[in-house]
């Protein structure tokens, strides 16, 4: 017998003659206390993100690229990892061209192995879209794609994320339902709730443990 067969046989013997406990899922308990009036959703999300040192800004579909430029120049950063294959990537590229600003745009267009060194040690900032946000916990939803791979929101010290106001959900349960997560998940699905942090030394909170030191969330109020 294999280890698997032995383990399953032991577990099976222990349950002999019993029937499984019925699924009495208490949906109200994971939704009702975490439901907000539409005008409260974004304030709550911002409050929670800012409580963990996330930076949030209200802006618009036309206005956000200028915010990104401001954020970069305020930090003395002159390059940005951004996907040319997304509408927001194209919009930002057009914006840069129009204002004649010298932000070098990099794209994650080859396997990580081909440019790992540069990604790890020479990429100060990235910009990605999101699949929405969650008011209850102040979270962003990310499903990395070929255009915006997993490490894009993890390795650069500054991560800028675009969030459409219309895609802010009340709670995780409603996200799973609305986005049909159980019917098919990507290789990696993520909730991101602030910049990377740790309290492992004497319960003292420090930001920028292994992931981004800063997270800027640009909320597009008209999207």
């Amino acid at each position: 017998m294999s280890a698997k067969e032995r383990i399953l046989a032991k577990l099976g013997r222990s349950l002999a003659g019993t029937t499984p406990i019925a699924d009495d899922y208490d949906q109200a308990l994971v939704t009702t206390p975490w439901t907000y009036a539409p005008e409260q959703r974004i304030p709550r999300l911002r409050e929670l993100l800012e409580a963990v040192h996330g930076e949030t800004h209200l802006t618009t579909t036309d206005g956000w690229p200028a915010r990104v430029v401001d954020a970069l120049s305020a930090r003395g950063i002159d390059e940005l990892l951004i996907s040319p294959d997304t509408p927001h990537g194209q919009q930002f590229a057009a914006h840069i061209a129009a204002i004649g600003k010298s932000v070098r745009l990099k794209s994650y267009d080859r396997p990580v192995e081909a440019w790992k060194d540069e990604l790890f040690f020479g990429t100060p900032a990235s910009l990605t879209g999101t699949l929405g946000g969650i008011s209850a916990t102040g979270s962003l939803i990310l499903w990395p794609t070929t255009a915006e791979p997993r490490l894009m929101s993890l390795v650069p010290p500054l991560h800028i994320a675009l969030l459409k106001a219309s895609e802010v959900y009340d709670n995780l349960y409603s996200v799973l339902q609305a986005q049909s997560w159980a019917e098919g998940l990507p290789t990696n699905a993520l909730l991101v709730s602030g910049p990377s942090k740790t309290a492992d030394i004497q319960q003292t909170l420090a930001y920028g443990a292994h992931g981004p030191k800063e997270l800027i969330v640009l909320i597009l109020e008209d999207a």
């Binding site: 699924d23 009495d24 994971v30 292994h210």
Partner: protein, 475 residues
């Protein structure tokens, strides 16, 4: 494994720990901090109680169909391209990991936080086979650097203060001495970033394995879990067989209970749901993902419906944060991978009761652990049950546990028989009371361990039985 010898010295370790003023201060401060953080997350007592019941029901449901869910999990993970391995013992689990390491000729392994890998003593095992195994969770990294073991399941370096970490970094990493926590974390970040970059294999634990979707869910704040599971070309997740839940939506109440109970956060910085290796068109992520499902005594706990409740645990650590014993002695005194109340009830299944026989007694049964457990494990009741297994005659049937009867003592058994006789025979009891009250003056000033911290108790001149008889008459 040499671990079984360690818990034998529990009392010695506890003795040293309670007299270590620095350690006592570090733990008291840390536990007060964590208790306050948790309390702030549950302002509504009614919501908390209902959610704990819900969490209990979700875990109990999973356990009530565990074999079926494990098979469904394997089927769905396999469909997603994850290779599933099964191990009855830590030796088997280490051998599985070693086979994967060998197949890839890996030299460097980077680890996210995983208590199951601690159970396996994976670092030690792999290092014995010439493979570097580096912890990347900041707390685990600190502990490994100091050649220590974690003292808490969520905050491994909680026994150290910033000054102690500063000295450690100064000695081992040859950096300037600084107690600035931001600076210390940046030193850790820089050191480990290079290691993520170089590692051949990433190892992680699992918080919830979702049977329905074939997904592994990990929660963390630092990003080292995402790094370990994304950067190296191979990811090996190790977990206990009890960590499976039926449906993705079952994670919703458990996640809320876990992060709020553990560190008092509404959610951790990252919730990382992994459902397979890198697909052909994808540009990062591991080429291979493995899951090792470890039994290591869990099926023994599973065999008894009372002890089975131990496996509800979602490893939040709230029981240790609220435990007056853990607060006094810290995590290392237990000499086990899992310290605190949950450690006392899970470890006997892993190491046997003979190696852990003092642990169930190291509790005043105050009930603080059971009161805060987010999945309502009746920890005090299980501790009492383990005491029963401990003092059972060694040849007693049925056999519930490896090492049952390890504290069996004919003399103690007889003493309790005497106590029983006294308390079931009113005349004898009256006689005893008479003797105890009238001869109270003869109470010796030293009564074993009691008089180390107390004066010897002296019986009153007359018992309540006598006073009540006088006042109320015989009844």
């Amino acid at each position: 494994m040499n671990a079984p010898a360690i818990p034998m010295t529990f009392k010695c370790r506890a003795h040293d720990a309670v007299h270590d003023a620095q350690l006592r201060r570090n733990f008291r401060g840390a536990m007060d901090f964590l208790m306050a953080k948790r309390a702030a997350q549950f302002p509504d007592g009614d919501e908390l109680e209902r959610l704990r019941s819900f969490g209990n029901a979700v875990r109990a449901r999973a356990l009530s169909k565990l074999p079926e869910l494990l098979e469904r999990l394997e089927t769905n993970l396999t469909r997603n391209g994850v290779k599933v391995h099964w191990a009855e013992t830590v030796d088997e689990a280490n051998a599985i990991v070693h086979d994967i390491v060998r197949a890839h000729e890996a030299r460097q392994v980077i680890k996210g936080k995983s208590m199951v890998s601690e159970e396996m003593e994976m670092n030690h095992y792999l290092e014995g086979h010439g493979v570097d195994c580096l912890e990347s969770d900041m707390g685990e990294f600190i502990v490994q650097l100091g050649n220590e073991k974690p003292s808490h399941i969520i905050m491994p370096a909680i026994h150290l203060n910033a000054g102690q970490v500063a000295s450690l970094f100064h000695d081992k990493l040859e950096v300037d001495y600084t107690e600035d926590v931001d600076r210390l974390i940046q030193i850790g970040r820089e050191t480990l970033r290079r290691k993520f970059y170089e590692a051949d294999i990433g190892v992680s634990g699992v918080n919830f394995a979702v049977a329905e979707t074939g997904s592994l869910l990990l929660v963390e704040n630092e990003g080292n879990g995402r790094m370990s599971t994304t950067v190296p070309p191979v990811h090996i997740a190790v977990t206990g067989i009890e960590k499976v839940v039926e449906n993705l939506r079952d994670v919703v109440p458990l996640l809320s209970l876990l992060t709020r109970s553990a560190t008092g956060q509404p959610i951790t910085t990252y919730v990382n749901v992994i459902s397979g290796p890198r697909k052909a068109e994808e540009l990062d992520g591991p080429q291979e993902v493995h899951l090792v499902l470890l039994d290591n005594g869990r099926s023994q706990a599973f065999a008894d419906s009372e002890l089975r409740q131990t496996l509800n645990c979602i490893r939040c650590g709230a029981c240790m944060n609220h435990c007056p014993v853990y607060t006094r002695i810290g995590g290392h005194a237990y000499g086990t991978v899992y310290p605190g109340p949950i450690g006392k009830i899970i470890t006997p299944h892993m190491l046997g009761l003979e190696a852990t026989k003092d642990l169930p007694s190291a509790s005043s049964l105050c009930g603080a652990c059971g009161e805060v457990c987010p999945v309502k494990i009746p920890i005090p009741a299980i501790l009492r049950r383990l005491r029963e297994e401990n003092v059972r005659a060694p040849d007693d049937e049925p056999r519930h546990m490896r090492g049952q009867g390890s504290k069996y003592s004919r003399a103690e058994g007889l003493a309790w028989k005497g106590w029983r006789l006294l308390n079931t025979s009113p005349r004898l009891y009256r006689l005893f009371n008479l003797a105890a009250t009238r001869l109270s003056a003869l109470t010796p000033p030293k009564l074993g361990p009691w008089t180390e911290h107390h004066s010897a108790p002296k019986a009153a001149p007359r018992s309540l039985h006598e006073l009540a008889r006088e006042h109320l008459g015989e009844d």
